[in-house]
Amino acid sequence: MIYWGGNPAECHPRHFTKYSLMQKGKFTPNGRKDRTMVLVDIRETPSAKAADLFLQIRPGKDFEMLSALRAIVKGQRVNEETVAETGLTVAQLQDLAAQMKAARFGIIFFGMGLSMTRGKHMNSAQILMLAAEMNAFTKFVAMPMRGHGNVTGADVVMRYTTGYPFGVNLCRGYPRFNPGEFSTVDLLVRGDNDACLVLGADPGATMPQPAIDHLARIPTITLDPKVTHTSRLSRVHITTAVTGISAPGTAYRMDEIPLPLRPALKSPYPTDEEVVRRIRQAVARRPAWLPGRNGKAAI
C-alpha cells in the first residue's frame, strides 16, 4: 500500500490499526508482516515510522513523479534529469514500480498533500490513471484520504441526489455542476451569493480571508453544536445536537460504507435535520418569488 501526500499517523489515527496496515485478512493472515507500506511525502511525518519505504519528494513535484512512474510502469523511457527534479532517482522509481507490480493487491491512499498543492485535480487524475493502468499487471485501487467529519457522506448524498459530488447549482431547478464557478470558496470570494446556510462546518476558520469577509457581510446562518469562528460572524447561530452522540444519523466511512449512528445521550437541542425541516416548512409557506409558480402574489 502506498500513502501519498497524507499523514494518517496524525490525521487518521485509527487507519493503520483498524483498517489498512495492521488488520489480518483472508489473504493476509499475518497482518502487518504480509504487507509493504510506502509513504510519499515532502517531509518526514510521524507516518514515516510505520513505512517500509519513505520517498521524500520536492514540494509541488507530485505530478512529475507520477508521470515518470506511469511511464516506467508501462516500460517507457524517462529522462533522468527530469526525474531528478522530483528529488528522487530513476532507480528509486523503478524499484517502486517493481514492488507495485509484485503486489497481489495494491492500494494507493492519497491525501490533501496531493490534491491541495500545485497541480491539484491533475495530480489526483494522475493517481487514478496510475491505479487504473496497474490493473494490467495486478489488482490495484486508489482511495482518497478525506478530511475530518463526514465529508464522504456529503459527497455520497450529493451524488445520489444530484449526480454530482460538490459544486452543484440548483438555481434553474435542475442540477448543474461546475467546480470553480459553483463551488463554495469561489462563490464566496467573488461575492456572488447574498445569504449562506452553514451546516456542520467552520469556513470562518478554514477558508481564504475574502471568503470569510463575505460571510460576515451577508446574512449567514450557522447550525453547529458548538460556537465556532463562523458563528461569530453569523447573524444567527442555532445550537444543534451532536450527531452520533446525542442525535441519530448516518456517517460514511472513507470507503463509502454507511454507518448508522445511535445516540448514547439525549440533547435539549434539536437535530440538524429537524432545524432544516422547520426552515423548509417556513419557507414553503411564503409566496413564491417567481410569477405563476404557486398562484399567489409574487414579489
Binding site: 515532502i42 517531509r43 514540494p59 498543492t117 467552520d202 476558520a205 477558508m207
Partner: protein
C-alpha cells in the same frame, strides 16, 4: 515581496484535531494554530531565534506566528490550519473548487 521566499505547507496534527472537538477558543488551539515550524538552517539564515515571534507575509496577507525549530526540509514551513493561515492562503481555486492550501510562497521576518 522581495526577500527570500519559503513554501508554506499547512496541515493537520493530532493535537489540533483534539482541540477542534474541545473548542476553538481554548489557549491550546490558539497556540497550535499560531506556531510555525522551520528548518534550523533556514532560521539561522533569517536571524530568527527559536521561540520568538515572526511576521509571515504572502501575496494575500500577513499574520504573526511563534517560530519553532522542526524536522522540516530546507525552504519549507509547516503550520497547523487555523484562522491565521486563512489570511495567507490563495484566494483562487484555479477552477477546481479547491483553494491552494498547501505550498504557497511566503516571506518570514523576525519581529524585533
Amino acid at each position: 515581496m522581495a526577500g527570500k521566499r519559503y513554501l508554506m505547507n499547512a496541515g493537520r496534527t493530532t493535537k489540533q484535531g483534539q482541540q477542534i472537538n474541545i473548542g476553538k477558543d481554548s489557549p491550546e488551539y490558539l497556540a497550535i494554530t499560531t506556531t510555525i515550524f522551520m528548518n534550523v538552517d533556514d532560521m539561522k539564515e533569517a536571524a530568527i531565534t527559536a521561540g520568538t515571534n515572526v511576521r509571515v507575509r504572502s501575496d494575500n496577507g500577513e499574520a504573526v506566528f511563534l517560530c519553532k525549530e522542526g524536522k522540516i526540509p530546507a525552504g519549507i514551513i509547516f503550520v497547523a490550519y487555523g484562522p491565521p493561515t486563512c489570511k495567507l492562503m490563495g484566494n483562487t481555486t484555479d477552477g477546481t473548487g479547491m483553494p491552494t492550501s498547501k505550498g504557497w510562497e511566503v516571506e518570514v521576518d523576525p519581529i524585533a
